[in-house]
């Protein structure tokens, strides 16, 4: 690890003025410190924001305003999250391990980097790490790579579970910077790659995520699920995942939300599929048509064609589970494919 200067920011202004080019914001540190240890990022200054007053979850217009420093474990057990945004709780609890969730922050989850193994290998060309150097993932091991929204410049996926659920719920990222406040929808916060590179940085120099806002989930509170496919039941990233939320009245879908994980450089909000579900009966057929629409334009970025099939099917599974209703208690294995069908 390179030598760096460590400062603990006492005020948001101090943090902003320090968060310039060569500085990095340190929150939970569960991703940043790993990347520093393997030489992927080499900041000369670390600005610790764990003491900033960003630890609160406030109720806000029927929704929530979540401080960027709220730990994943605390957020997952918040009563309003459990009662009105259950897919967020399920996504959180399916991620990482209990130890990591105790440390990891909400803002940090959003800011975490891709787990593309070529991004994590400083010896490999990577446009995300070193713009213009190329993409070593293309032609390499691509099981964890994108099938939507990728270009020849980058085929990485965003690894977050939380962000998939947040995107489905229309969450908004509140950012404070030298030019004041701005807000960005979760679903477009992470840039997609273009022909030349990985797109503009989500945060400008001096900017800090302060809060995540979840608008009122309205009639979708008890019909929302997150489902995650993975070979290992804990401490594994999704091969593919999906968050779904439905408002159902009189046997008809009033509104639908669907977002996919593990398929693109951002949580993939499937708006066309959502529109197609409006005013439909919540049937397997309707969900299958919606899943087809969600995967429209999907293409393998390597030897990963099966992910398109899996993503389609996990979308159907999430919608089907959402239609069946959120269970009163979180399942013992949150987001597991196997819930309800087998013991433990």
């Amino acid at each position: 690890m390179n030598l760096f200067e460590y400062t603990r920011a006492e005020t948001l202004d101090a943090a902003m003025s320090a968060a310039t080019e060569d500085g990095a914001i340190l929150a939970g540190g569960t991703n940043l410190l790993d990347l520093m240890k393997i030489g992927v990022v080499n900041p000369t200054r670390l600005i610790d924001i764990t003491r900033l007053p960003l630890h609160d979850i406030e109720e806000h217009d029927g929704g929530l305003r979540i401080g960027a420093m709220v730990r994943n474990a605390d957020l997952a057990r918040h009563p309003v999250i459990l009662s009105r945004f259950p897919a967020v709780a399920e996504a959180l609890l399916s991620g990482a391990s209990a130890q990591l969730r105790n440390a990891a922050s909400t803002g940090g989850n959003i800011m975490q980097q891709t787990r593309c193994s070529y991004f994590q290998d400083p010896l490999s060309p990577c446009n995300r790490r070193e713009p213009g150097s190329g993409c070593a993932a293309i032609g390499g091991e691509t099981r964890n790579h994108a099938v939507l929204g990728w270009t020849e410049a980058c085929i990485a996926t965003h690894p977050s579970d939380l962000c998939v659920a947040l995107a489905a719920y229309d969450a908004v990222v509140e950012i404070t910077g030298p030019d004041g406040l701005r807000e960005v929808p979760m679903e477009s916060f992470h840039p997609l790659p273009d022909a030349n590179g990985t797109g503009p940085a989500p945060l400008q120099s001096g900017e800090i995520i302060t809060h995540i806002r979840l608008p009122d989930s309205g009639g979708m509170a008890r019909n929302a699920r997150y489902v995650k496919l993975r070979e290992r039941t804990s401490f594994a990233f999704a091969i593919v995942s999906a968050a779904a939320a439905l408002e159902i009245q009189d046997g008809r879908i009033v509104q639908a939300r669907l977002a996919l994980g593990g398929v693109a450089a951002r949580p993939w909000r499937a708006r066309t599929a959502e529109k197609a579900l409006a005013d439909q009966s919540p049937t397997e057929e309707a969900f299958a048509r919606a899943a087809d629409l969600a995967l429209e334009g999907a293409a393998p970025s390597g030897d990963n064609r099966a992910k398109i099939t899996l993503a389609r099917r996990i979308a159907i599974r999430a919608l089907t589970r959402a239609a069946a209703g959120t269970p009163d208690r979180l399942p013992a294995l949150p987001a597991s494919v196997f819930e309800g069908d087998c013991n433990g």
Partner: protein, 745 residues
């Protein structure tokens, strides 16, 4: 806090061996007071970090040692240009259990991740950054990676000095007479060692004496190796290895950086510590190589195997000859009139493979059990019935009788516990909700080798005793089970026994490997105790003042710290009284453990493993929902620890079947998943209802104590059982491990 937990109700009846005692070092471990090698912080210690190669084949042309040495805290950078000399080249195999290794002998790169420099600094952080600053430049060649990327060759030996092929009977004649021919091709991936404790060493010199703290499975051998490579008198080397956080074969072999640390500590006259990072374990410390196995079965109309062929192609390194002996797993499990096994190698630019828990047996059993299942179904037999039809009453490979073999009882007990009799023959016929359910089985088998061990026992004036042997406790609980045996050898309660071990200045207990440590070191310890008691009895029987005087022909028995006349239990004497009257403070005995001469019986542990899986038909995800094994492994010294060993092996089997796989980028030879986030082994949530039963088995031939081994047995059989259950659920026969969801949709 008390040092020892007082567990109520833990009453022991009878002898020490056979009791389910908990680990004697358990409290130390769960309270963090067990000192592992990297926990040592000698005064003035320096930290060493290896820089590793970013290419898999070629030469290092430049290292920026100036930049590294200019970094604050860096003390010295060792490269091939300035490293101290070894007495013997690290490419020389000084004994049968030596691997060629890298100790900066030259600028060649043989695999990605190979150490190419050693940076020594005042802090770990400075050494790490120094290693980054070296920014190596290379003259790189195209790497040869994997089964299809390397160069085929025919090895002279496989595993450690074994013949690469075996032919028994006339394969062609047997095949001609058979009714059905089956062929199965299965691939297994490269698997890398991920013991919880990474390899570590702390070395310090006092004059010409070297003290080493390092986890090692065979410290007697390690001492010889350090001495030979460093050119030091072995009597001047002390290795301490009190606790190993897992070994699994990777800590039985020295690797170059250990030698370099010892050299550097001498050169700089400071203690030096090195602990590998997780990613640095992918290369220099051995691994289980990828294999492609072809099985050919010819079966007659009554379901008897007439001919069995097992051919393995295994990846090896470009510079050493370890070949995973997977085909040998077919030698002794099923009866057959004719048997042919072969091995071939692929030279690739990777670190040299080595032993990894059930080396050969795990890999070969996985393929064999799938092939057997395939034939059973095609012939319309229940998988268990087919295995019973082909039950080997004698060892097909040697024609010898088995020393003992309670496999039938294992099958019966596990099958009953599992409920196997309700299994439908057809795949895809069981469901649980939406999920497909399948049941599969496999046979577990592992040989019972014995190595060489020596031990001392000393009876003290107060009737307590100390025993000494350099055994290795890898977490399996050797120090507990060995102490149980030692206490019985001395006829005392285990609480009166001090057990000294894990140091190279003690009698050599041999290697903790091959599932032979308890048998070998246990025999030595028991014999040392018996030797002591023999002397003690001699004192008593010849002493007119002893109540045992003149018991000569009747003899005496040692029990609970007293000698008893065999023919009269009322006449006994305490050890301390015998010693006191003889004017002795100490009485010392010696013992050895080894197998004399060539074995005249085939010796194996056995088991039957039954698995239930649930498979999501849409998403292909597999969950092992039940796993039950029954195992016969001779005398079980400690049922609690043996069960843990067997469960650990079975859980390893879950990982082998469904998760474990080291992935190379074939273009660069570098790994894409060299950490615990990317290299998956099971978590608790992956471990289902699981049980390991042990079946009583007396073995009068295997050794005087009747002990076989349980360390590796549980892996075998389990992998095949899970694969066969997946087939039974889905109708899809796995062609490679691990079984990915993508292959099941």
């Amino acid at each position: 806090m008390a040092d020892v937990m007082n567990i109520q109700g833990h009453v022991r009846l009878g002898s020490n061996a056979g009791q389910s005692m908990t680990r004697r070092d358990g409290v130390l471990k769960v309270t963090g007071r067990a000192t592992y090698a990297a926990d040592n912080r000698p005064e003035g210690v320096l930290h060493a970090v290896t820089a590793t190669a970013g290419i898999a084949r070629g030469r290092v042309t430049h290292l920026d040692t100036a930049a590294a040495e200019a970094h604050p805290g860096v003390v010295k950078v060792y490269t091939p240009a300035n490293r101290p000399d070894l007495a013997v080249s690290p490419d020389e195999k000084i004994h049968g259990f030596a691997w060629r290794t890298e100790a900066l002998q030259d600028d060649t790169v043989r695999y990605a991740g190979q150490p190419i420099a050693l940076v020594v600094a005042e802090t770990l952080e400075a050494a790490t950054e120094g290693s980054h600053l070296l920014a190596p430049r290379y003259d790189a060649d195209t790497p040869r990676i994997g089964l299809d990327g390397g160069v085929p060759f025919q090895p002279e030996t496989i595993s450690i000095g074994r013949p690469p092929s075996l032919e028994v009977g006339d394969i062609d004649a047997a095949r001609t007479g058979a009714a059905r021919h089956f062929e199965t091709v299965i691939e297994t991936p490269a698997q890398y060692h991920n013991a919880l404790e990474p390899h570590a060493i702390t070395a310090q010199w006092t004059g010409d004496r070297l003290e080493i703290d390092t986890p090692n499975q065979a410290i007697g051998l390690a001492k010889q190796s350090f001495a030979a490579y460093l050119g030091v008198n072995p009597a001047h080397i002390l290795i301490r290895s009190p606790f190993l956080g897992g070994g699994f074969g990777s800590k039985a072999i020295l690797f170059g950086a250990q030698l370099l640390v010892a050299l550097a500590a001498k050169d700089l006259d400071r203690p030096i510590k090195l602990a590998l990072r997780r990613d640095q374990m992918y290369g220099p410390v051995g691994h289980r190589p990828a294999t492609r196995q072809t099985l050919k079965l010819d079966v007659d109309t009554r379901g008897h195997i007439a001919a069995l062929e097992h051919h393995t192609i295994a990846v090896a390194s470009s510079f050493d000859d370890f070949i995973e002996n997977a085909s040998n797993a077919s030698h002794s499990v099923y009866a057959t009139t004719a048997l042919r096994t072969t091995h071939a190698g692929i030279r690739a630019d990777t670190g040299t493979p080595g032993p990894m828990r059930a080396p050969g047996e795990a890999t070969g059993s996985a393929a064999l059990e799938v092939a057997i299942d395939d034939a059973a179904y095609a012939l319309g037999f229940d998988p268990l019935e087919f295995r019973l039809r082909n039950y080997a009453e004698t060892d097909p490979a040697t024609g010898m009788q088995f020393s003992s073999k309670a496999l039938r009882e294992c099958y019966a007990q596990a099958a009953e516990a599992f409920g196997w009799q309700d299994r439908p023959l057809e795949p895809g016929s069981m469901k649980q909700g939406r999920l497909l359910k399948g049941w599969g089985m496999g046979t577990a088998q592992f040989p019972c080798p014995m190595f060489q061990a020596a031990a001392h026992a000393t009876l003290r004036a107060d009737g307590s005793a100390v025993v000494e042997t350099s055994a290795a406790d890898m977490g399996q609980g050797a120090w507990t089970s060995l102490a149980q045996i030692a206490a019985d050898g001395l006829g005392i309660d285990i609480d009166r026994l001090e057990f000294r071990s894990g140091q190279s200045n003690l009698p050599d207990a041999g290697v903790a490997g091959g599932s032979g440590h308890t048998a070998t070191a246990g025999t030595a310890l028991f014999n040392a105790g018996a030797d002591t008691i023999r002397q003690l009895a001699e004192l008593a029987l010849n002493d007119p003042a002893s109540p045992l005087f003149g018991a000569d022909n009747a003899g005496v028995t040692a029990r609970g710290g007293r000698l008893y006349r065999n023919d009269d239990d009322t006449r006994s004497e305490a050890y301390e009284d015998i010693l006191a009257r003889a004017g002795l403070d100490l009485l010392r005995g010696e013992g050895k453990g080894a197998r004399e001469g060539e074995p005249e019986r085939a010796m194996f542990s056995h088991g039957g493993v039954f698995a239930e899986v649930l498979v999501d038909p849409d998403l292909g995800q597999v969950r092992v929902s039940r796993l039950i094994g029954a195992f016969a492994a001779g005398r079980i010294v400690n049922p609690h620890l043996a069960r843990s060993q067997l469960l650990g092996g079975m859980i390893w089997g879950i990982g082998f079947a469904l998760q474990e796989e080291a992935i190379h980028d074939v273009r660069t030879g570098r790994f894409t998943n060299a950490d615990l986030a990317g290299y998956h082994i099971p978590v608790n949530a992956d471990v289902p209802m699981i049980e390991a039963l042990t079946v009583h088995e007396d073995d009068p031939f295997v050794n005087s104590l009747g002990i076989k081994g349980v360390g590796e047995l549980g892996v075998t059989g389990t992998v095949g059982a899970i694969a066969n259950a997946v087939w039974h659920a889905t109708g899809i026969r796995p062609k490679r491990f691990p079984i990915h969801p993508e292959s099941l949709i």
